[in-house]
Amino acid sequence: MRCARGWYWRLGCVLLVTVFISGCPKKTPPPSEVGGPGGGLGPGERGETNLPPPGDTTREHIEHGPGEEGGPLQDIHFAYDSFELSSEARETLRTNSDWLRNNSQAKIEIEGHCDDRGTAEYNLALGAKRAKAARDYLASLGISPERLSTISYGEELPSCREETESCWEQNRRAHFQLLTR
């Protein structure tokens, strides 16, 4: 039995355990089964949820894989060596801001990621720019900056490991990690 990926899913799993006392589902459930917008676990249902101590999101990623798309907040993607927000990324951020407005207790950590073409340090700096660009845009849409922290992972936690254009694009992303809801 393995609890699914990420803090968010882990939280869902823990809550399912408390309800059903039957353990976690064996397969990674689609978002609607364990929560998310309109799902079973609305904000405030477990208001005492602890914020993970600093460092835990990193360890969570290392143990269970980098956060993947499929949570309530969608990743956005970037062009090579760029932190400019495309119109598609802005559209996704507007959708994400809607969810954040509807889940006003939620705090997120915005992760900046890069593909692995390039040097580690430059990609860390570029990842920070990407996270900051996403944060600034969400803030411009009225989301309180206090709910939005940023972290750069550079090329250190790729979600895809193939040397293909589609994989590189998948890795050039900002991911929105739910810290608390």
Binding site: P54, G55, T58, R59, H61, I62, E63, G65, P66, D81, R117, G118, T119, A120, E121, Y122, L124, A125, L126, A128, K129, A131, K132, A133, R135, T150, I151, S152, Y153, G154, E156, L157
Partner: protein
């Protein structure tokens, strides 16, 4: 002759004259040593490295390890072709020049020969080792080392450096260490490791099971700075390798630092609000000076050997390029103009070159004069770090570490297998 007039090369020149005198013998014409100052990456000077003889016991392992380490170092140097031990006719005995059967070593094509002995008295290890010119049947140099049993490999690296001095006129870089980042502990975690120059004596430094990145050495090669996510973002940490003491250097995240050559100052790129700028910190974690303040990426500081200038990478022109800053005036000048992606500069301890990574098709290591001009390509790879002698670079290529001569003619793999190895940092020479 004037072509080779550099003073540091004269010793090598003289010894080579002696070594190549052997080529007058027709039966040895297969040895392709030309009458010129040796360069790494050529055919290599054929050298035999005899296992050291145990002078006070039967266990020969230490003598074999000593020979293995020297063989590995000299292979990496690119100056030598180490003759396989299986072909040796003569054993560890005899040691006296008048008793060594030099014609036997000539038969193997050896121009140079290492022989010696060791003794262990309790934990005290004594090594006596000599380098011979096979053709002239005479000693080129010899050293006695005394230390503890654990110093065996260190002694071998030191003698490899001496062999480099005898043959090339310049002390070798092998009595040193390389810090790097690796996933070899398993999973996605990255930890800091330190290896000797054989690439096989690897010590895991961090065990935090998180991301630990960007190691760099203090000049004494006993403290590492690195960046770890163990308390959230990538904060800078100091690790004293002697005491094991680990402490956070500064409460702002960043990405790699470099110690000034005098060890008093750490240049570091720190990130605030998504933007990275360069700062100077004291080793005690005090902010000394802010070096850059602009909305562009400023990272990867590397000191000139005199400590007056810092080369770094900046995106201020719209894409990453290498710049050089005067530390006192704060004025910067752009150094690289070719290509649209030039990162990770490393200033040679000799001062004559700055190595960096460029993107052109794949990623390649380049060198350029600190004054500017045309860059030269070294080889394919990323993240170069200079050897303490300024003749070699360690770098990563496809998640393995390699050592190349600065002209790229000799490229040797240092690590491989067991994980992704990246971000190497070559220490200064050890004591």
């Amino acid at each position: 002759m004037s072509k080779y007039g550099g003073g540091e090369r004269k010793v090598g020149w003289r010894i080579l004259l002696g070594l190549v005198a052997l080529l007058g013998v027709p039966s040895l014409a297969g040895a392709q040593i030309k009458l010129e100052v040796p360069e790494p990456g050529g055919a290599g000077i054929p050298i035999a490295i005899s296992p050291l003889k145990n002078l006070a016991g039967e266990d020969q392992r230490a003598g074999e390890i000593f020979a293995d380490v020297i063989a590995r170092d000299l292979d990496i140097s690119g100056y030598f072709k180490v003759i396989d031990r299986g072909a040796y006719i003569e054993g560890p005995d005899p040691l006296a020049p008048e008793q060594i059967n030099f014609p036997n070593w000539s038969l193997l094509g050896a121009l140079a020969l290492v022989k010696g002995g060791f003794s262990l008295d309790g934990d005290t290890l004594t090594v006596e080792v000599r380098l011979f010119d096979v053709a002239q049947r005479k000693q080129l140099g010899g050293k006695r080392y005394r230390g503890e049993r654990k110093d065996l490999r260190r002694m071998a690296h030191r003698f490899a450096d001496q062999i480099m001095l005898f043959i090339t006129g310049e002390l070798g870089p092998f009595n040193s260490q390389i810090a790097f980042v690796s996933t070899r502990a398993g999973g996605r975690a990255k930890e800091i490791y330190v290896t000797d120059l054989t690439g096989t004596e690897v010590t895991q430094i961090t065990k935090d099971r998180t991301l630990s990145l960007g190691p760099s050495w203090n000049p004494a090669a006993n403290v590492l700075t690195y960046f770890s996510y163990k308390q959230g973002g990538p904060y800078p940490y100091l690790r004293d390798l002697l005491s094991g003491r680990d402490s956070r250097l500064y409460p702002v995240v960043g990405y790699r630092s470099q110690w000034s050559p005098d060890g008093t100052t750490i240049a570091v790129s720190l990130e605030q609000q998504g933007n990275s700028d360069l700062f100077l910190l004291s080793p005690e974690g005090r902010l000394i000076q802010r070096l850059t303040e602009n909305p562009d990426i400023d990272i990867s500081p590397t000191w000139s050997p005199d400590g007056r200038e810092i080369a770094f990478c900046s995106s201020r022109s719209g894409n990453p390029q290498i710049y050089v800053m005067n530390v006192n005036s704060g004025r910067s000048r752009r150094l690289t103009f070719r290509g649209d992606y030039n990162t990770s500069p490393a200033w040679s301890p000799k001062g004559d070159l700055i190595a960096y990574t460029t993107r052109s098709g794949g990623f390649r290591i380049m060198t350029i004069s600190p004054e500017g001009g045309d860059p030269s390509e070294v080889t394919a790879g990323e993240d170069p770090s200079w050897a303490p002698d300024g003749r070699y670079l360690v770098f990563s290529q496809r998640r393995r570490l390699y050592v190349a001569s600065k002209d790229g003619r000799s490229v040797k793999q240092l690590t491989g297998g067991g994980g992704d190895d990246t971000s190497p940092a070559w220490s200064s020479r050890l004591e």
